[in-house]
Structures are given as C-alpha cells and as structure tokens.
Symmetry: C2
Subunit: 191 residues, 2 copies
C-alpha cells in the first residue's frame, strides 16, 4: 500500500521519476557486477581445486624419511582444501542462476538475503580450507624444530611450489566473496 | 522528500502508524540482540586468546625428540591464533559503541554497512586463525606418517588438550559473526 503511494507520487513528479530511473540503473549495474564477480570466484575455486588435486611428485630416490611419491591425499588438510574448493565452485555455479535473476528482478530483497547467508557460510568453508592448507604448507616449507617436524619441501620441491600456488585461487575467491556480500548489502540498502 | 511524504501519510492513517511502530520496535529489538551477540563473541575471543596464550607444559623428562617445555609460541600458527583472537576482541569492544548507538538511532543505514564490512574482514581473520590452528592441532594429535611428522600430543598431552579446548571460543565467535552479519542485513532490508 505504502509502495503503491510512493509509485503514484513518482509518476506525478518528473524529478522523482528521473531519480528513480537512475537508482534502478545503478541497482542493475551492481547486479551485473555481482554476476561477473561470481564467475571470477568460480574460476578461482576451480583452478585451486584442480591445481591441488592434480599435484604429484615422484622422487628418483628413496631415503629413510621420504616416500617415492607425494600426492595431495597424503595430507588430510589438502584433501579438505580440495573438497572446500569443490563445494564453493558448485555453490557459485548454482548461485549464478539467482544472480542472473537479480539482474532482471533488481528489486528482489529476500533472495538477496538468502544469498548473503549462503555466501557467508561458503566463504567460511573456503577460508577454513585455505588457511588450514596454508598452515600445513608453511610447516612443509619451514618445519618445526621444537616438535621435530622436518621441512619436507627440501625433498618435494616442485610438489610444494605447486601446492603453494594453488592457494592463490582460493584466497582470490575469498576476497571476491567479501566484495559480493558488501555489494548485496549495498543493493538492499538502496531499495 | 519521498520519506517525508511517507511519514505524512503514516500520520494520516492510523493503521500505517501502528504498523510503523511495530516495525520500529522490531528494529530496536534486533539492535539490542546485535549488542548482546557482540558481547558474547568478545568473551569467546578473549577466552580463546587467554586459554591459548597461557598454555604451557613442562615434562618431567627429556628425550631425543621432545623439549622440557611447550608453550604456544613454539608454533607460529598458535601465535597467529592468539593475535587473531586479540584483534577480534579489540574490534568487538570498539564495535560495541556503534552497536549501542544503533539501539538509539535504529534508522542508521550507512554505519550498519560499515559494520558489515569490518565484521566480514574480522570474521575472515578469526576463521583463518582458528582453522590454521585446527590443522596444526590435528597434526599434533595424529601426526603424519608420510611426511614423517610425529604426533607430539603423546608427550605433551595436557598441552594438546588445552590448545584444542581454546579453539572452541574462537569457533563460537565465528558463528556469532555470521549471525551478526545476517542480522545487520535484515535490519537494513526492513528500513
């Protein structure tokens, strides 16, 4: 009822109508930006999952301390990293459909709040995977003399480099998620 | 101008005025809930920082593999955990003042969006610290045979238990942050 009255007045006064059109096109612009950022974040998580998932290194020699071959499944944290990135990728693909609907129906509020909730949870999962993997990668690089954990990167050098690189896509996606949530709040507040 | 017209009509029609009062009191209720959740989250991060920061264990014997004493500073990840929780605690204390202002000025929108931005970043820092610490704690419990990392919890049993326990406060605060950000979006959308 209130909304109808406002629309009524917007039609009566030309100035308000122009203001409303600007407001609409900015909201639509933000919705398109939301869609693009989701595509980029999806690519980031996919790249991370593939880079980590396909990493392996076979050593030409055997010592008392190291195995022939290192793959991501040897460390449970890296397995979690791959799973977290795959979940985030799947979610981002699904959310693209809702994001596309928002470009058309830019006034939708409830679906945006639902997206914020899921974005937050998936961002948490992604952050958990990325930072846990970072802790293990840093341990693999430096080791820890007090706990007597050896730096395995001395043997598995290319494995370590590839694993470290695979973190980038995940952190990029986390930053994009933060921007996405802020964008959604801005659109909701502009309604 | 638009807002003024709406208020005008609210005064004219009694029904809308009652609806507006309900809307106002719900917004105020959500603001009070925001304040309480921030206090709880602050207590969680403080407990985590203190529990981790004061943990130490001195062993009655020395072996080739373990030291006399284990403190959190021996593992850089645990140091980061303490710093992350301290930062979150400091931020939550500061945000309490803004949260208190929101109870009085429940119509404020811009300051709520600023809070969402900072909440998101601090939640990310907290999640990073907690999950990195979890990865190391899990390694300390189980070790890793392939990387030849020994489970140090066999020696430092009480140290490990205390460290594991200190994670709880941090994860509680993360869940509260997620609820806080959702609450803020709800209040913004109800405006």
């Amino acid at each position: 009822m209130k909304a109808a009255q406002v629309v009524d007045q917007e039609v009566q006064t030309g100035k308000v109508s122009i203001e409303s059109t600007t407001r609409r096109s900015v909201s639509r612009g933000l919705s398109i930006l939301d869609f693009i950022l989701r595509v980029l974040a999806a690519l980031g998580t996919l790249a991370s999952a593939i880079a980590m998932g396909t990493t392996k290194q076979t050593l030409p020699f055997v010592t008392r301390f190291v195995r022939f071959k290192a793959v991501y499944k040897d460390l449970p944290t890296f397995t979690f990293f791959v799973i977290a990135n795959s979940i985030a990728f799947g979610y981002l693909l699904l959310s693209l459909t809702i994001s596309f609907l928002h470009i058309v129906k830019y006034k939708a509020i409830n679906s945006r709040i639902v997206l914020i909730v899921f974005d937050l949870v998936i961002m948490g999962v992604l952050m958990g995977g990325a930072s846990a993997a970072t802790a293990i990668v840093s341990l693999a690089h430096d080791g820890n003399t007090i706990a007597n954990w050896f730096p395995i990167c001395r043997q598995f050098n290319s494995f370590c480099q590839r694993v470290s690189g695979s973190l980038i896509g995940s952190y990029l996606a986390i930053v994009l998620f933060i921007i996405l949530i802020i964008l959604s709040s801005l659109v909701i507040s502009r309604r």
